[in-house]
């Protein structure tokens, strides 16, 4: 269980205080898939970095399985938005996936198996020897996902991972993430600014206000577990949920402007 309790983050620079996150509290059940959406610039990335232990909060706490997060905790993986910068350009694809396992002290044979499996799972079974920059953007993000899979995390955080890939690739990757989640049984927190994506992917959607960020609404997505791009998106319930999230975000934007 991932618990965010009273989280606040204030950036102070050049004498100006910018309150990025006001007061955020929510919980993510172990093994669940939660999407976080909010208007652009609402501090989604800040929230995710606090959860990952990459950024110390100004106030409040993040707790993972009962222990407070003060630095990157064990068993947590992050897939960053900037795939081009999160992969080591000097390592081949397989070595990129392999490096965290080496750091974790996994033995060679096991590492090999995990790397092969993870790359197969994302459909890159034949790209072991390529360098990341020889791949397209979508494929690079697949490598980043494979790296997370091979790491076998208990919690997987994804920070707008598909913001920079084209629409068709994006649909494929969404389905990939769903299947990975179902197979691995990880706790998945998925940050996005895309409302369709959030509703399509998550079991729950947490909507945020403009900064200073608060939780605007916590919505359960009662769509069936088996989802696919055609039928799920055609489902009237999908349209309804989507409309609700959309309205909430619009409201948050307006409030944000009014302030």
């Amino acid at each position: 269980m991932l618990t965010v309790d009273g989280l606040g983050k204030v950036y102070a620079s050049h004498g100006r205080r910018v309150e990025a996150i006001g007061d955020l509290s929510f919980e993510v059940e172990t093994g669940s898939f939660v999407c976080i959406v909010g208007p652009s610039g609402c501090g989604k990335t800040t929230l995710l970095r606090c959860c990952a232990g990459l950024l110390p909060p100004t106030s409040g706490t993040v707790t993972l399985s009962g222990s407070p997060v003060t630095g990157p905790p064990e068993g947590l993986a992050v897939v960053f938005q900037e795939y081009g910068r999160s992969l080591f350009p000097w390592l081949r694809v397989a070595d990129n996936v392999d490096l965290p396992l080496r750091a974790a002290g996994v033995d060679r044979a096991e590492r090999r198996r995990l790397v092969d499996e993870a790359l197969d799972a994302v459909g890159l079974g034949d790209a072991h020897r390529a360098y990341p920059w020889q791949l397209s953007g979508g494929m690079q993000q697949r490598v980043a996902i494979a790296r997370a899979i091979a790491y076998q995390p208990r919690v997987l955080l994804m920070d707008e991972p598909f913001a920079a890939v084209d629409a068709q690739t994006r649909a494929d990757l969404e389905d990939l993430v769903r299947s990975v989640w179902q197979r691995l049984g990880v706790t998945l927190v998925f940050v996005t600014h895309d409302i369709d994506e959030a509703v399509y992917l998550g079991q729950r959607v947490i909507m945020l206000t403009s900064s200073p960020t608060r939780v605007a609404e916590d919505l359960t997505i009662d769509l069936p577990d088996e989802r696919d791009q055609l039928t799920t998106r055609g489902d009237p319930r999908f349209t309804e949920l989507r409309g609700r999230v959309y309205a909430q975000i619009q409201k948050a934007k307006l409030e944000g402007k009014a302030r």
């Binding site: 970095r49 990952a52 232990g53 990459l54 630095g71 990157p72 064990e74 947590l76 993986a77 992050v78 960053f80 900037e82 910068r85 999160s86 080591f88 350009p89 000097w90 390592l91 490096l99 965290p100 080496r102 750091a103 974790a104 360098y131 990341p132 920059w133 020889q134 790296r147 790491y151």
Partner: protein
Amino acid sequence: MTAVLTRVGLALGLPVVLVAVWWFASAGSTDFFFPPLRTIVEVFGPTWFGERLVDDVLPSLGRLAAGYAAALVLGVGLGVLIGSNRWVRAVTEPVLEFLRAIPPPVLVPVLMLVAGIGNGMKILVIISGCVWPILLNTVAGVRAVDGVLEDTCRTYRIRGTLRWRHLVLRSASPQIVTGARQALSVGIILMVISEMFAASSGLGFTVIQFKDGFQIPEMWSGVILLGLLGVLLSMLFRVVEHQVLSWYHGSRTAQKER
């Protein structure tokens, strides 16, 4: 096929023409200080391929190699230390900028006082000149490690040696290589200069001896040998760079095409 021929022709054409011009223009030269190229080429072999190769050329190159290697280790090591700490960086930066700005040859007389006139002094001279470009470029490179990659290492708990090897050093390697290239030309300069000051062997020493003994064709051959060595070492450097930085050039080309 024709494309290859054209390229070879373009690469060799001008050098061949220039050498030919030199050859024929100097053929009948009676000017003592501009001997015919033919004479220079004739003395080149006997002058350098023999005892002098072992007694002068190799010791010079050995000192260069030793000094350069030490400067690499020292420069990269200190550079990583300084570059990865904001405070250390802020404190040392002006001092380093100053030390780097000192033209390295002026340190020769000082180092002679301190380290005498033997191999130690000459290696120290080479280190003292080569270390700065490497050090400062390493600092800049380490400083510019990508934030996302840094975060990636943190979340995946990649630490210690693995982190130094696979994140810090590799990130900084394009800049380290730039520094190393600058250091190489400084090193060659200092190899020669240190031998012009006090020596009983070495390339620089021998060339000066030829000058003092008025053996002008031999002196020219020494100048040419130094030039060839410079060219050879820079070619060698390119081969190594190609190995070390293939990922860098590849990713840059990929970026440009996108």
